[in-house]
């Protein structure tokens, strides 16, 4: 699919005859190798999820976070080169605190997205800098309600109802389009995002992965809350109970003001939930 630049792709300051900057397009390719990142805007907030592919079993569960809090009211999920992502997050944090120092109020999400996008774009203008090899899904809750933005390596930023980047982005986008987001609450959204991530995960190519989730909604008091135990324990939970059947068990236990926890559910409830989910999966397969 990829067209060879043949000479016009050596520098980010060179245009090709048909008006493309190849280096930026190549930077976008870096995203396609990374785990899927999904974000949706529900009725009352934002939910983001990341399929974090695990390189080695030696890695501590919960390390190498892909979802970061930028400010109390906003968070960022990163796809692509992780180190590049750290830079962008650092910049976003700095912009957010700077804005609050000057204007006395938390940075509007639209403004934050514009500043992040400008910064990413800046690095595509000079020959002595390379473009960022990562895309970012930015979710926040301000005076105008919940908003979701996506910033690409080219510096383009748009506002979305639902967005996905990474390996399984096509499949994920298809799944998101099936959802009725305007009626969905964030509690339901968390389950849907988890479902989508599990669905687009390619068992054959990539073995182990961790699911990272975060939300900002009325329930979380409009503050960005990340899953901690949810990621590692959830995967273990699933693997131990399900014998590699691909289904999920969404435990929505994000309590007010605390980090989300996984509650070990009584076994009869577990059975009931398992049946329901398996049925749902069969219905999906039957389509």
């Amino acid at each position: 699919m990829s067209s060879i630049g043949t000479g016009y792709d050596l520098s980010v300051t060179t245009f090709s005859p048909d008006g493309r900057v190849f280096q930026i397009e190549y930077a976008a390719k870096a995203l396609d190798n990374s785990g899927t990142v999904v974000g949706i805007k529900c009725k009352d907030g934002i939910v983001m999820g990341v399929e974090k592919l695990i390189q080695s079993k030696m890695m501590l569960p919960g390390s190498n976070r892909r979802i970061h809090s930028v400010h109390r009211h906003s968070g960022m999920a990163v796809a692509g080169l992780a180190a590049d992502g750290r830079q962008i997050v650092a910049r976003a944090k700095s912009e957010a605190t700077n804005y609050e120092s000057t204007y006395g109020e938390p940075i509007p999400v639209k403004e934050l997205a514009e500043r992040v996008a400008s910064y990413v774009h800046l690095c595509t203008l000079y020959w002595w800098l390379r473009p960022f090899g990562c895309g970012v899904i930015l979710g926040g809750y301000d005076r105008d309600g919940p908003q979701l933005y996506m910033v690409e390596p080219s510096g383009i930023s748009y506002r979305y109802f639902g967005a996905a980047i990474g390996k399984g982005k096509q499949a994920a986008k298809t799944e998101i389009e099936k959802l009725n987001l305007s009626e969905m609450t964030c509690r339901e959204g968390v389950i849907e995002v988890a479902k989508i991530i599990y669905k687009v995960h390619d068992e054959a190519k990539d073995k182990a992965f961790e699911l990272e989730l975060s939300w900002i909604c009325e329930e979380s008091k409009k503050e960005h809350q990340k899953s901690k135990a949810l990621s590692a324990i959830m995967v273990n939970f699933v693997c131990s109970l399900v014998n590699s059947e691909r289904w999920w068990y969404g435990v929505c236990t994000m309590d007010d003001g605390k980090d989300p926890e996984v509650i070990v559910v009584p076994s009869d409830l577990l059975e009931a939930a398992k049946t329901a989910a398996t049925t749902a999966l069969e219905e999906m397969d039957a389509d």
């Binding site: 000057t102 204007y103 006395g104």
Partner: protein
């Protein structure tokens, strides 16, 4: 007879007031700008517009407060364009206090920022000399305000109507003018609510007279020009 230094820095002795009411704010001020004991401007406008929905009352050094207001107006204008919405009173006040605080060794201004925004309703912020910012249901400032602390303690109440708030502000400025030599002239008010700002003007000689204040006497100018009908008998040896 000591010489009057007309080149002394213009200072606004001043009385400035900002009061919230049910649905907006009322800002009020006197109109005297003095250089030493000389009144450089007896009809100055100390309530300055920052945006359509936020105004600022200025006291202290006239030059300092004017320049500071200009800066704040400039930053607010850019902020409004970027935000695509009217600015909040909080942001305006914050910008003003950052300038006031960071330049505290050079500036001498006491400010009251007041206005109305969709998200906050009516808000008043006091920014005294050092660059503190404090949100208050009402604020008073300037040299004349010393005489108003007790008055407001007694007369202020929560949830007034627009008419009550305006009457309170005019009465207060008028009382301060009566006692403070550095305040005088006319009373200006600006009332800001969801429908925008509204300016009112109260001439100095139409204000109520307080304790020991006298009716205006015929001035010699009036007598000599024949302006008054019943002129008193000129004095004889």
């Amino acid at each position: 007879m000591e010489k009057i230094n007309v080149d002394a820095p213009h200072s606004m002795g001043t009385t400035i007031i900002g009061v919230t009411y049910n649905g907006g704010v009322v800002l009020g001020a006197d109109s005297r700008t003095s250089t030493g004991v000389y009144v450089a401007n007896r009809a100055s406008d100390k309530i300055t517009k920052l945006t359509d929905n936020v105004y600022i009352c200025r006291s202290g050094s006239a030059a300092d407060s004017q320049v500071l207001s200009d800066y704040v107006r400039y930053f607010l204008h850019q902020h409004t364009i970027q935000l695509d919405q009217p600015a909040t009173v909080k942001v305006a006040a914050n910008l003003a206090r950052l300038l006031s605080y960071n330049n505290k060794d050079m500036l001498q201004t006491g400010l009251i920022v007041g206005g109305w925004s969709k998200h906050e309703g009516g808000k008043i912020f006091g920014i005294p000399l050092g660059g503190t910012i404090i949100e208050q249901p009402f604020a008073i400032g300037g040299s004349g305000s010393s005489y108003l602390y007790g008055f407001f303690d007694q007369a202020w109440k929560e949830g007034m109507t627009k008419e009550e708030a305006e009457a309170l502000v005019v009465k207060a400025v008028s009382l301060a003018i009566a006692r403070d030599g550095a305040s005088g002239g006319v009373v200006r008010t600006v009332t800001i609510d969801k429908d925008g700002p509204e300016r009112k003007f109260y001439p100095g000689d139409k204000l109520q007279l307080w304790h020991e204040e006298m009716e205006p006497q015929n001035s010699l100018l009036d007598i000599w020009s024949g302006a008054t009908a019943a002129s008193p008998e000129p004095m004889r040896e």
